[in-house]
């Protein structure tokens, strides 16, 4: 489902120095597989996810999603692939504050292959337990409920690959556990591959497959 080869990204510091943040030699995820990636703050794991999602353009290497080489696509192509194949759950949820819960999910779907399917969006929100909050605005919800909206939005298009960046980072322990269980469960239902990055040991401990981002990043750098 996901194959990353020799992926690299560097940034220029304010002092003009070029610093390589990401160099991942080989990384792969099979359909339905769920992997947790450990990474400390500033290790480059968010950049890694953004490169996979095509939000950032890589300096080099390849990211193949469901057989399509993301890095070979132009920007509109990457946008299309992201809308069709990817679900992205952000640490800060990134809900559209001026839109209702239902509209957030509908908008998330509207750029993908299903289009703005309100009935399906409603069903997804019911699935995450927010069927009674459809017309509420994000600010009217608790943090845990907001995260559930973000989950519903990311999964509404039945993505092949779900990326989750510190999805429990803003939640208390109880809500964090609930959110994680929900993400994993819905991904399983849709047979979506899940790549989650976190530095929370409890989150990481819930996964059978765990990797250390620093290790795969260092391995890539060593190989280069």
């Amino acid at each position: 489902m996901l194959a990353v080869t020799d992926l690299s990204k560097s940034f220029r510091t304010p002092e003009g120095e070029r610093v390589e943040i990401v160099r991942v030699g080989d990384f792969a995820l099979a359909a339905g597989e769920q992997v947790a990636l450990r990474g400390e703050s500033g290790s480059g794991k968010t950049t890694f996810l953004n490169l996979i999602a095509g939000i950032l353009a890589a300096d080099g290497g390849r990211v193949t999603i469901d057989g399509t080489d993301m890095t070979a696509l132009n920007e509109p192509g990457r946008d299309r692939l992201r809308a069709e194949k990817l679900g992205y759950i952000f640490q800060t949820f990134n809900l559209l504050q001026g839109f209702t819960v239902l509209e957030n999910v509908v908008l998330g779907m509207s750029f993908g292959p299903r289009g703005a399917d309100r009935a399906h969006a409603r069903a997804m929100l019911e699935r995450v337990g927010l069927g009674h909050r459809l017309d509420h605005f994000p600010r009217q919800l608790s943090t845990g409920q907001q995260q559930r909206v973000a989950v519903a939005r990311a999964l509404a298009n039945r993505p092949k690959l779900v990326l989750a960046d510190e999805p429990t980072g803003n939640l208390d322990r109880l809500h964090g556990r609930e959110a994680l269980a929900l993400i994993r469960e819905v991904c399983r239902e849709h047979n979506a591959a899940l790549l989650i990055v976190s530095h929370d040991e409890e989150v990481l401990g819930a996964f059978e497959t765990r990797m250390d981002f620093a290790v795969i990043n260092a391995a890539g750098k060593a190989r280069a």
Binding site: S41, S43, K45, T47, R82, E84, L86, L107
Partner: protein, 401 residues
């Protein structure tokens, strides 16, 4: 649907700036349409207001003053026409009708015009349309102290059939200048939508022989309204009175002379039009500023949409469409503003001159102006749309870790 949702929510989120911006567009749009319509409609209405006459004969002087005085009942008379001159023109073989009028008195600010009953019985204001009196009225007797009131004047002065009044000397109302003569209203005219509605008509002899008037000029008239048997008559009489003679002036054709008035005040139209264009530009600029300023607050939303798969051009189009929507809202409100303003101006012109501007009149400017404003607003949306287009997704959503 997505685009509509994005626009609707964005407009709602920035409701105050949307309303203010749309309001300024409405002002510009309404003002532009009103200036244009008042200009074209008043020009058309004034030049067509001949009340059925081809020409006016009066004392030597300005043709425009003669027409304004005799047809529109504005301005002072440039002088008198002697009875012999009136008789000469009345008997001229090319003249079909010659109606004398005399002015110089008023009834509480409304002009009294002395004339002959034939004005009401034989002259057609427009083809097939004569003066008609309201039920229970009759045209005055030429030798009696009687009066026929125009509909607007009667309404404003509260005149009814059987009412009596004493005229005041001069064209401007002066309470101390009351004449001793008493006139009785015998009829109220049906509205004609011409300046005749603002006049109280009395017999020519009644005005000429009014107490206090100079007896030496008791047979003079202020002007003669003329209908010709052929259009050639105007050219021949123009030669006779204007080019060969030096005592009288023939104002012919009436419509062309009124058009001269609009030529003289064209600068005023241009100033108003310029002001309206400037307001339109400022409105478009305010659309630009309003959306551009809101861009900073919306950067995160735009980045989220991009992260969800929205293409750059979708974002660009949404911002552009939002600007056009503000323009459309403004244009719609501008139409309402225009209708109110135009009705007000038309009412004012009617009250001042008796000339009626058609409220439901159509002109291409009524669609071109709103469409132009929408296009101008969309143009104003290009800069913020470009800013939205270039929103960096990763940087905006979260700092690189």
């Amino acid at each position: 649907m997505t685009l509509l949702l994005l626009i609707r929510r964005s407009l709602r989120q920035h409701a105050l700036s949307t309303v203010i911006t749309a309001g300024s567009i409405a002002l510009a749009c309404g003002l532009l349409m009103c200036v244009w319509m008042v200009k074209t409609q008043s020009q058309a209405a004034f030049t067509q207001t001949t009340t059925g006459f081809d020409a006016v004969l009066g004392a030597r002087g300005s043709k425009l003053q003669l027409v304004l005085n005799a047809i529109f009942h504005l301005e002072a008379s440039p002088g008198n026409v002697a009875a012999a001159d009136f008789e000469a023109i009345r008997r001229h073989p090319m003249v079909k009708t010659a109606i004398p009028i005399a002015v110089g008195d008023n009834l509480r600010g409304f002009r009294l015009v002395g004339t002959v009953p034939e004005l009401f019985t034989t002259v057609e204001l427009a083809p097939g349309k004569k003066f008609t009196v309201q039920a229970g009225g009759k045209i005055f007797d030429a030798e009696a102290k009687e009066a026929v009131a125009g509909s607007f004047a009667a309404q404003r002065l509260g005149l009814k059939v059987g009412a009596t009044f004493k005229p005041f000397h001069g064209l401007a109302f002066d309470a101390k200048a009351e004449h001793a003569d008493v006139f009785t209203v015998t009829a109220i005219l049906e509205p004609t939508n011409t300046p005749a509605d603002r006049v109280v008509w009395i017999p020519l002899r009644g005005l000429q022989t009014m107490s206090g008037h100079d007896a030496k000029t008791a047979t003079d008239v202020s002007a003669v309204l003329l209908q010709f048997r052929t259009p050639m008559a105007g050219l021949q009489l123009d030669m006779l009175y204007n080019k060969q003679g030096n005592r009288l002036t023939l104002a012919f054709p009436v419509g062309a002379i009124v058009a001269e008035l609009f030529g003289k005040i064209a600068w005023f139209d241009q100033v108003l039009t310029l002001v309206a264009y400037l307001v339109a530009l400022v409105a478009a600029g305010s659309v630009l500023a309003s959306i551009y300023n809101s861009m900073s607050a919306r950067r995160r939303d735009l980045a989220i949409l991009r992260a969800l798969g929205a293409k750059r051009r979708t974002i660009f189009g949404a911002v552009l469409a939002e600007a056009a929507c503000i323009g459309a809202l403004g244009a719609a409100a501008g139409w309402i503003f225009y209708l109110g303003l135009y009705a007000g101006v038309a009412g004012l012109i009617r009250a001042q001159t008796g000339v009626v501007l058609e409220i439901g009149a159509w002109h291409p400017v009524l669609w071109a102006c709103p469409v132009g404003m929408i296009a101008l607003c969309a143009l104003g949306g290009i800069v913020p749309a470009l800013k939205a287009y270039h929103t960096p997704v990763a940087e905006t959503l979260a700092p690189v870790s």
